[in-house]
Assembly symmetry: C2
Homo-oligomer: 227 residues x 2
Amino acid sequence: MDFEPMGVATDLVILTVQAGSFEVLLIRRGIPPHKGRWALPGGFVREGEGLEAAARRELAEETGVGSERIHLEQVATYGEPGRDPRGRVVSVAHLALVPDLPTPVAGSDAASASWIPVADVLVDPGRLAFDHHRILTDAVERARAKLEYSPLATAFCADEFTVSELRGVYEAVWGVPLDPRNFHRKATRTEGFVEPLGATTTRDGGRPAQLFRRGPAVTLHPPLTRG
Amino acid sequence: MDFEPMGVATDLVILTVQAGSFEVLLIRRGIPPHKGRWALPGGFVREGEGLEAAARRELAEETGVGSERIHLEQVATYGEPGRDPRGRVVSVAHLALVPDLPTPVAGSDAASASWIPVADVLVDPGRLAFDHHRILTDAVERARAKLEYSPLATAFCADEFTVSELRGVYEAVWGVPLDPRNFHRKATRTEGFVEPLGATTTRDGGRPAQLFRRGPAVTLHPPLTRG
DNA sequence: GGAATAGTGTCTCTAAGACATTATTCT
DNA sequence: AGAATAATGTCTTAGAGACACTATTCC
């Protein structure tokens, strides 16, 4: 066997929705290269460690949350020669969707982490180190597309949520307002999307809202549509 | 920098539709490991070579066709420790969609290549070497899904094609019969999917059929639906 | 004419989108 | 009472699916 040895890393696009804002977790790099610039959290895959395992390890380190219940999926792999000045490094990008975390972000090693509005980062291609702007762009598009035909929006919600909280996720991620009446019909009548719990809450003010949890569906039939 | 060096390879899922049959290009391995078993074509990424460039190189080697006009996209990356007995190898899987090739498959180095019906391979998880059955499953599902919302089915057709040839692609890939009348309406009335050329052909027998070429659309609105 | 394939038209029903109205809480 | 939010209902229209019919070739 005759191959060129390369470094294999994972980078994480960790997304959340907080108070109606669609945000991504970025770190300010504490070491070269690109020291002091914003970047996606990530790191090298270790010996004997699988790709998803590496991503989950990084995710737990960054969010301080046991990542078992967090949605994590692979997005794509970036491996242009020259993308990392340290040498030939191939990075497997992952997308993580987390609910509004009760815990603030734990300070990770030699770097400070912050939630930044996705829209602010997307409009400024020079803001992120490496090819991370491209990775973020691809991951965000994946997330936006998946909200249409999968029940993935619930991954941004707590275990129990109301229809308007769910709608708020769609509005934040897609950046468009949705009709509350039509959305309610879609969400509650699409087979397996959400399941009523019987209980209600008034945490959003006004008339008490029914609480739901995510249903068993893997895909939504028919899908929701973006503006 | 402190990383575990790994081999980075690409594996190719090359799909075509020939005479109504949905087929994948497999090679019989001429060297260990898994010598003599069926596998996806692939190889290591070279120094200074990008991931897509490596995939295009392999594609050209296997199909004997200049791959510029062939649809190629990344599917996912597979990197479980132990997936390759030779050592730690991470493989970036790609999906290629090729028209019914005039050229038969050129014999590649120390291995014989054949077009095999996808359905035959999918039902037999033990048929392929390494984790290639999993890779094939994922790639085929990607292809099937993309036919719904993208004009990708045209990648299986020649430059000029008829509506029934296009329908044949859908039927072969999805494995379901489609109503010719409804399909014709959908294909010709979906903005940017296909463009009429004015010419006709009788190569399929019966009344002459209009010839089309692929249109400029990137996504189909509204999408086609599987059974 | 008969077989084969291409293409158009019609009907029904589902569901999206626009929008009105009623219900239940809090201040 | 008034504000705020939740939930249900109605109307119109686009489009999918089922299916009948006409058109143009080859034999």
